[in-house]
Point group: C2
Chain length 452, copies 2
C-alpha cells in the first residue's frame, strides 16, 4: 500500500487579538500554511486601552504591527483586510480586498463590539472603547470639554461640559471613571483660569447592585468606597433610559441597595436628568457577526457555543475563540471575556491544529480532541493612582499591593520589549509628577467639536 503524503493544511486565522496571535504562535513549528487576517495592521493590548482614552499612554505604546509580532514565523502570512463572510460548506473566507481564501482549518477570533441594547442611536453621543480610534475619540472629546468650558460664558453650559457620565461599572467603566476624576481634580487643575476643573463631576452608572459585578462582593464594595473617596459619584441600581446631545436620563431602582438611599427613604424608582456633553459607553457588548456564519448555536450576546475542544459543533475544522466564544470553566461558570482566557484558548486551538497537522504529515489518523480547560489566574481591576482591587490565589487584595500586582502583570504581558520599557517610564513619570503624557486633541481642527 502506498501512502500519499497530504499537502500542508491551510490554516486561516481571522483576528489578531490575544487569541489569534497565541494561536498563530502555537503553530510556529507546525507543517501548515498559515494566514492571519485582521482589518487593522496592529495587535492591541486592550487591557490598557483606557489609558490611551485617558491620555496616559500613546497608541504606539499599547499596540504593535501584527506582522512585526509574527515577523520571525516563516509559515505565517499576515494580511490586512476585512473579512466579510465565512462559507463553512465550501471552506472559504470572503474578504474585502484580498479575495476569497480557502481553508482546511479556520480560527475565528474577531472579538466583540459595543451593544447599545437596541438603542444604537446612542452610539453617536456615547462612544465605546474597543479600538485605538475609539480611545483617541474619547480622549479628544474629554479634553475638548475642558477647553470649551474654559471659554464658555453660560454657567449651565459650562456645568454640562464639566459633567462626565460613564455607563457601565465593569472593569473598563471603573478604570475610566477613576482616571477621569484624577485628571480633573489633579492633573490639569492648575492650567485653567476661568474654570476650576475640581468642580468637574464624574458619574459612574451601573444597573446592577454593585460595581465589578464579576468580582468578589468585598472587592466591589472596596472599589465603590475607593471611587467615592476619589470623588466619583457612583450610582448603582441605576439604568440609563435615554442619551442625547444634551445629557443622560437615569432611572434609579434602589431595591437591594439600601446604602444608596441616604436616610432610608422608600425604595421607589426615580428618574433624574444629568446634563452632560461627554458620555462613555462601557456597558454592553455583542459578539462579532462572523460567529453566526459558522452555523454554530449562539447565545444571547451572539457568542458561539463551542464544543469542549473549542470547535463548532459538527465542524471539527472550525474554531471560535476568545470573546466570540461561549465557554464554561470546570465549575460551569462562563470563562470571563478577558485577555487570559483568550490567550489560553488561542494556545489550545493552535496545539490542536498542530497535532492534526503532525498526524496528516505522517499519514496517521487524526488524534482525539482534547478538552479546553480554563486556568483562572485571578481577577484584577485598577481604579486609580496606586489603587486597585485583585483576587489572586483565592485571596482579595486591595490598595497599593493590588495596584503593584496590576502594573506588574500588565507590563509582563505587554507583547514586545520596547513597549515594556517605555510604558514603565511613562507610568513612572505619571505617578511621580501627577502628569499625563499624551494630552493631545487631534483630529481636523475645523471639526474639533463635540458635535462631530
Amino acid at each position: 500500500m502506498v501512502m500519499v503524503k497530504a499537502a500542508r493544511p491551510r490554516v486561516v486565522i481571522v483576528g489578531g487579538g490575544f487569541a489569534g496571535i497565541q494561536c498563530a504562535e502555537a503553530l510556529a513549528s507546525a507543517a501548515v500554511d498559515l494566514t492571519l487576517i485582521d482589518r487593522k495592521n496592529h495587535h492591541l493590548f486592550q487591557p490598557l486601552l483606557y489609558q490611551v482614552a485617558t491620555a496616559a499612554l500613546s497608541p504606539s505604546q499599547i499596540a504593535a504591527p501584527i506582522r512585526e509580532v509574527l515577523r520571525g514565523q516563516r509559515n505565517c502570512r499576515v494580511l490586512m483586510a476585512d473579512v466579510t463572510g465565512v462559507d463553512p460548506e465550501q471552506r472559504e473566507v470572503r474578504t474585502d480586498g484580498a479575495g476569497v481564501l480557502a481553508y482546511d482549518y479556520l480560527v475565528l477570533a474577531t472579538g466583540v463590539s459595543h451593544s447599545y441594547f437596541g438603542n444604537e442611536s446612542w452610539q453617536a453621543q456615547a462612544p465605546g472603547l474597543k479600538t485605538l480610534e475609539d480611545a483617541l475619540d474619547i480622549r479628544r472629546r474629554f479634553l475638548l470639554c475642558f477647553e470649551l468650558a474654559e471659554r464658555a460664558t453660560d454657567p449651565a453650559e459650562r456645568a454640562a461640559l464639566l459633567t462626565f457620565v460613564v455607563v457601565g461599572g465593569g472593569p473598563t467603566g471603573v478604570e475610566m471613571a477613576g482616571a477621569m476624576v484624577e485628571i480633573a481634580l489633579q492633573t490639569i487643575r492648575d492650567e485653567f483660569r476661568s474654570i476650576d476643573t475640581g468642580q468637574a463631576r464624574v458619574i459612574l452608572v451601573e444597573a446592577q447592585p454593585r460595581v465589578l459585578a464579576g468580582f468578589d462582593p468585598a472587592l466591589s464594595e472596596s472599589a465603590k468606597r475607593t471611587l467615592r473617596a476619589m470623588g466619583v459619584d457612583v450610582r448603582t441600581n441605576t439604568r440609563v433610559t435615554a442619551i442625547d446631545g444634551t445629557g443622560v436620563m437615569l432611572t434609579h431602582a434602589p431595591e437591594g441597595d439600601p446604602g444608596a438611599l441616604a436616610g432610608g427613604g422608600a425604595p421607589v424608582p426615580s428618574s433624574e436628568f444629568i446634563a452632560s456633553r461627554h458620555v462613555i459607553w462601557a456597558a454592553g457588548v455583542a459578539a462579532s457577526a462572523l460567529g453566526a456564519m459558522t452555523g454554530g448555536a449562539t447565545d444571547r450576546a451572539g457568542r458561539v457555543v463551542v464544543e469542549p475542544d473549542l470547535s463548532v459543533a459538527g465542524r471539527k475544522e472550525v474554531f471560535v475563540l476568545g470573546d466570540m466564544a461561549s465557554v464554561m470553566d470546570r465549575n460551569g461558570l462562563p470563562v470571563p471575556g478577558m485577555a487570559p482566557g483568550a490567550m489560553q484558548m488561542g494556545r489550545h486551538a493552535g496545539a490542536t491544529i498542530a497535532r492534526d497537522a503532525r498526524a496528516l504529515d505522517r499519514g496517521e489518523a487524526l488524534p482525539a480532541r482534547r478538552a479546553f480547560r480554563y486556568v483562572d489566574k485571578g481577577q484584577l481591576a485598577t481604579i486609580g493612582r496606586a489603587r486597585a482591587v485583585a483576587h489572586v490565589f483565592g485571596r482579595n487584595v486591595t490598595g497599593l499591593p493590588a495596584w503593584l500586582l496590576w502594573a506588574g502583570v500588565h507590563v509582563v504581558y505587554l507583547i514586545d520589549f520596547r513597549s515594556k520599557v517605555l510604558v514603565l517610564m511613562e507610568w513612572f513619570f505619571s505617578y511621580i509628577f501627577f502628569r499625563r503624557g499624551a494630552r493631545l486633541i487631534t483630529g481636523d481642527a475645523r471639526t474639533a467639536q463635540l458635535e462631530t
Copy 2:
C-alpha cells in the same frame, strides 16, 4: 498734576508655536494680562514632525499641551479657538467660539500652510506636513501602501503602490525621503511574504539644481550623494507638472546640472510619468492669511514685511513673528523659516512689550524700540540613520558627527523634560534595533483606503 496709573495692557498672542510660546514666556514677569490663542491644544515640536510621519515617534513625544507648557505663568490665559479675523483699527481679534478679544498689544505667529502654487487640487493626492494630523495621515498612507501591495495581484498596481514620490528637496523632503527608504529597505523587509519591500522606490524631486538649496553647496552635494547611496532616486532640476490618483508627471530641465545627465547627452527637457499611490508635498508654503489683515505690506509668499522691531509699519502695537514675517538678517538675507529664528523673534517681541508695560506701569514715556537681530546658530538637516549634514561655527560637518549634533540639538530643544527622556529611549531602540516604534495604521477601518 495727578498721575493716573494705567490698567495692565491686554496682550493677545495668536499661535502657540515656537514664536508664540517664547513671546509668552518673555512676558512671564510683566504686568500684562496675557491671552494666548491657538486652534490646537498643543505646542508642536515641528522639526521632528517628519519622525511621526515616518513612524519613528508618537505624536505625544513631540507635542505638549500649551496650557501645560505655560501652567506656571499666572498672568497668562490659554484659549483653544480659531482666530478668524483681526481688526487693527478697533484693536480686536475675532474668534470662532471665544468671541471678540480686545487688545492693547497683538502678536501674530500663526505660521504657514502648504502652497500648491495654484494647483490646490493636488492637495488630496499629495498631502503636506505641517500638523500632527498631516503626519498621521502620511504615516497611514505610507504603511497602507505596503499592506495593499502585499495583497495586490496586479504587478503594475503593486509597483505603483511601492513607488513613493517626495516633492521638494528642502530639509523636510530630504528627511522624509531618507526615512522612507530606510523603512522599506531595512525596517519592514522581513515582514512580508508576497512582496520584497526592498524593491520599493523613493523618488525625491527638486526643481532647483540642488537639494537643501539654503545650505552650503558642498553640503547639498554630500546630502545628494548620501541619499543616493541609501537608495533614494534624487531628481534635481525637475518639476512636477501634474499629480493625480495614478501618479506624478515630472519634467526634467537639466541645465546647470550636468551631473544629472549620465553620459553627457544634450540638455533637453524631458517628461516622465511616475505611477505612484503616495506622493508627499514638501515644496511650497504660504503664510497665514491673518498677516494681511494687519494692513502691513506682504511679500510673494504672503509674509508681512515687518519693521526692524518686528512690528507692522504704522502699528507699533502689532507684531508679526516667525514664518509669517519677512525679516532680514544683518547681511540682508532672509531669516530662514526655522525654529531658531521664530524663537528669537518671540523673545524679542516679548521683551519689547515687557519694556513698554514697565514704562506704562511707572507712568513713563514708552521707550525707543530696539531692532531685532537674528543670531545664526547654523544649519542642520538629517538624512537617515547616523547621517546628516550641518553647518556650524562656519564649518561644514557631515556623517555621524553631524547626526550626533542634530540629535543633541533637537533633544535639548524639546520643550519638556519627559519628552526628552522618552525620545532618547525611542531613538536608542530605533537605531540599535533598526525598528520603528509607532508603525500603526489608525483611522476608521472602513475608510482605511488610499482613496480617502
